[in-house]
């Protein structure tokens, strides 16, 4: 491994806790009685249901079709009957329900007819649409529809393809285990990516705390007939972040506000490559994934889990224990707390982390910022978190943006090192959501103003046109009258015409006034409405937090 590696700034070394879960063999989680499959598991438009309550569906059958370019389909993870289509609790911080398709499984696990794709013979655009319809999305956490990322664009090509096996979050080992056990399949997926992107350089970045995974991937890479470089990168959080991995492997930075493809690099998670291989070589949609179940359980392990499986069944399987204080989806640095354990495993679920008081002691009360800049030293985006905190707290969102708030990747390093234990990332999320909300309001206000201005302009114009028309008419009449024997003074006719004009204008104005100005939040589709509610709920929560971090503390003492 002679490749020169580069160091990204910042990063932290939280305890890894990988050994707990990466030694047990992988088993498939048993088929649950009920599968809850959310229609929105990816970034972009939610899928549209194509089945109805009461339908029998087969394993792998399309139940929600992709809606538009940036979308992905969802499929039945097993055979059974559609028992409900409607809102259900999903893994989301807000705890708000989202549209889901619920299946009562029949235990037969009967597959739909499926066949491999001859991807080399297919039109690239057709292949991408097939992948979208097979529900392939990024499994590293962001769940971006892969078909979109596999489109190099008309003029672009993507010379460098990076496979992300970093898995820098503590506790999570699903990528590690996947690479150890299914390296060949992963590389089959890489072949498809290479085919679509026309990449000439293929790098696989794996943190050096996973020697078995590195060895397995290297062995598999040797079998390929083109060069694939498996690179051990230093284990440091967030070294598996796409931007950080790009920097480590290539020394290049993704320009602020741009995509990695703008510098000719595309990054995929190893799990995505595996899903892609299953899709292409077996025709299987994305209906299951590896999930790490770890933390405060008796047997931390990785399981092959059907999408839609309720999380509590997995925790039971891993052996639940007394003293559980909560469950996270994802790792301790960027994961989110689950509002309810009935929530299903989704495409984004890489880890179910069960908390206890011992493993996750409650965070101490926050003290004021002492500007020690440990956060700045730890920030992989090279921001000045202490300044962003100050701006967010004082509501100076404009300056927060000037100080690159939107370059924050919310990795949590700043909060992790803060000696004052300030939940810094919460403040950045709050500031971001406030800015979004304000932009939305501003856009609405701009639109309203534009409409109003145009209406004023139109009224003026109509008035003028009418006046001209009337004047022309009056002129004609005058000419007529002048031609006829004069019985009435022309001045009076003129005054009459004016009066009529004014009356007409008044009547029009009255009628217009009666019309209610259109409201921007009326007649929105339900998902928009829901999105607004979600954002409002989040803002309220965060505002509560931001108001006075010392309040709770005061109450205690």
């Amino acid at each position: 491994m002679s490749r020169e590696l580069f160091k990204f700034k910042g990063g932290v070394h939280p305890p890894e806790h990988k050994a707990e879960s990466n030694t047990r063999p992988v088993h498939a989680a048993p088929l649950p009685k009920k599968l809850v499959i959310p229609l929105r598991q990816h970034i972009g438009n939610p899928a549209k249901p194509v089945v109805e309550v009461g339908d029998r569906v087969l394993k792998g059958q399309l139940i929600g079709a992709a809606d538009g370019y940036i979308s992905a389909a969802v499929h039945a993870s097993s055979s059974g009957i559609v028992s409900a289509i409607g809102p259900a609790v999903v893994p989301h911080v807000s705890g708000l329900p989202d549209e889901c398709i619920t299946l009562s499984t029949d235990g037969l696990d009967e597959w739909i007819v499926h066949a491999p794709l001859d991807y080399r013979a297919m039109e690239p655009s057709d292949l991408r649409m097939r992948l979208r319809d097979l529900g392939i999305a990024g499994l590293g956490g962001a769940v971006f529809p892969s078909a979109v990322k596999l489109d190099p664009g008309a003029t672009h090509s993507c010379p460098t393809l990076i496979l992300n096996g970093g898995e820098c979050e503590p506790w999570i080992t699903c990528d590690d285990v996947l690479m150890r056990t299914r390296a060949d399949d992963i590389l089959q997926g890489v072949a498809v990516m290479r085919h679509l992107l026309g990449s000439t350089e293929i790098l696989i970045g794996i943190e050096d705390n996973k020697p078995e995974a590195i060895a397995a991937m290297q062995a598999a890479a040797q079998k390929m007939d083109y060069a694939i470089e498996v690179v051990a990168v230093p284990a440091i959080y967030p070294g598996g972040g796409a931007k950080q991995l790009i920097k480590t492997l290539t020394g290049r930075e993704v320009p602020s506000g741009k995509l990695s493809t703008d510098i000719g690099i595309q990054v995929f998670n190893v799990g995505t490559a595996y899903a892609l291989a299953r899709a292409v070589h077996h025709g299987e949609p994305l209906i299951s994934r590896l999930v790490t179940v770890t933390g405060h359980v008796l047997r931390p392990q990785n399981m092959e889990v059907l999408i839609g499986t309720p999380m509590h069944t997995l925790i039971t399987l891993a052996g639940d224990r007394d003293g559980t204080t909560g469950v996270l989806m994802g790792g301790p640095m960027m994961g989110m707390p689950m509002p309810d354990l009935d929530v299903p495993v989704v495409k984004a679920t890489n880890c179910i982390l069960v908390k206890s008081r011992d493993l996750f002691p409650p965070l101490p009360a926050a003290l004021p910022c002492i500007r020690c800049t440990r956060c700045a030293d730890a920030c992989p985006a090279e921001l000045q978190p202490q300044e962003l905190f100050r701006f967010a707290k004082t509501g100076d969102f404009g300056r927060a943006q000037e100080y690159h708030l939107f370059d924050c990747i919310e990795c949590g390093c700043c909060s992790y090192v803060c000696p004052s234990h300030i939940p810094l990332v919460d403040f950045y999320r709050y500031a971001k959501s406030e800015i979004w909300a304000r932009e939305k309001e501003k856009r609405a206000a701009d639109l309203a103003r534009e409409r109003h201005e145009f209406r004023q302009f139109r009224l003026e114009r109509e008035k003028k046109e009418k006046a001209e028309k009337l004047a022309a008419k009056a002129q004609a009449k005058r000419a007529e009258l002048a031609a006829a024997p004069a019985t009435e003074g022309p001045a009076q006719t003129d005054a009459d015409a004016k009066k009529a004009l004014i009356a007409a204008a008044l009547a029009r104005a009255q009628a217009k006034k009666a019309e209610v100005a259109p409201k921007n939040v009326d007649h929105l589709p339900p998902e928009k409405q829901r999105e607004i509610e979600e954002i409002e709920a989040r803002r309220a929560k965060i505002r509560e937090l931001a108001r006075q971090p010392l309040e709770t503390d005061e109450k205690k003492s």
């Binding site: 990204f8 932290v12 939280p14 911080v93 503590p170 931007k243 920097k247 930075e253 993704v254 320009p255 602020s256 506000g257 741009k258 996270l328 994802g330 301790p332 640095m333 960027m334 994961g335 989110m336 707390p337 908390k355 996750f360 965070l363 101490p364 003290l367 004021p368 910022c369 002492i370 500007r371 020690c372 800049t373 440990r374 700045a376 985006a381 090279e382 000045q384 300044e387 300056r399 000037e402 100080y403 690159h404 370059d407 909060s415 992790y416 090192v417 803060c418 000696p419 004052s420 234990h421 939940p423 990332v425 919460d426 999320r429 937090l545 010392l550 503390d553 005061e554 205690k556 003492s557």
Partner: protein
Amino acid sequence: MASPFIIDRSSVTQVMAWVLAALLPGIAVYVWLFGPGILVTLSLATVTALAAEAVMLKARGYPAKPFLMDLSAIVTAWLLALSLPSLAPWWLIVTGTLFAIVVAKHLYGGLGQNIFNPAMVGYAVLIVSFPVQMTQWAGPLELTATPLTLAQSASVIFGGDVPKATLDAVTMATPLDALRTGLLQQHTVDEIMTQSIFGHYGGIGFEWLAGAFLLGGLVLWALRIISWQVPLAFLAGIWLAAGFLHFFDAGRFGAPWFHLFAPSVMLGAFFIATDPVSGATTPRGKLIFGFGAGLLTIIIRTWGGYPDGVAFAILLMNLCVPLIDQYTQPRVYGETKKTRAPPA
């Protein structure tokens, strides 16, 4: 509560405790070479600071316990005590400490909000208001015939009945005072340096004290409690400014080593200018902040009205911090010329 759900177990208390621990070698050398009087000063300042902190927290409606536990008041107290003459009267110590905690810290908003270093504000108030009492320095034991015991020191500090002769026998001008007075009397630096108070680099005893503060400062740097930029730039500022002057007229300006090894410089460079709250935060800003403070120290020592200038230099640089920070924002990941916002 949202992510992250883990933190490393550092705390403000831990940071402050390390600062206090790093001052211990300096305090030990102080006691060893100048007698135990400083312990009385330190204790009095500590008690005053904690009491003032508790009262102010209560008055401002903050919970007392977590803030008293953060030890920041004690750090302020110790830094002020170590800057004061070791035989300063009790009321001087109390006044300075009260001013530091009540005005410079709490009236500005408490921990993390003070734009000036509280200890230096306390010091500045005292030297401006009570210049005479601010000269009661115990001389190094090496030069005193009958050094004061702990009880005698306490007696002096608390205004007890100590014969003037005893007091005169132990108090002495500091090397910086001696240099200043000598220069005012038209002596050359070389002539002044022949006085018994001067040692190898700085004053007898004083240079060892400076060394002990340097040692403590290096420990703080090794532990990453302080960054390297501020102390290094501060010392560089002193050395370059003093060296420049000394190079042109060695007779009228003290040598750079002499200036470096005055204890106030090492204390200032590693413990006071590095105060994160009142200092610059960006890497380049820290360099500018430290260098400016060093430069101003020499300017004030040379042309100002007081023998030492560390306190005023740091306070002046504290004033510049918002400006320095704003104009030294580092480049962020992926930042291009296009995306760089002009400092507004």
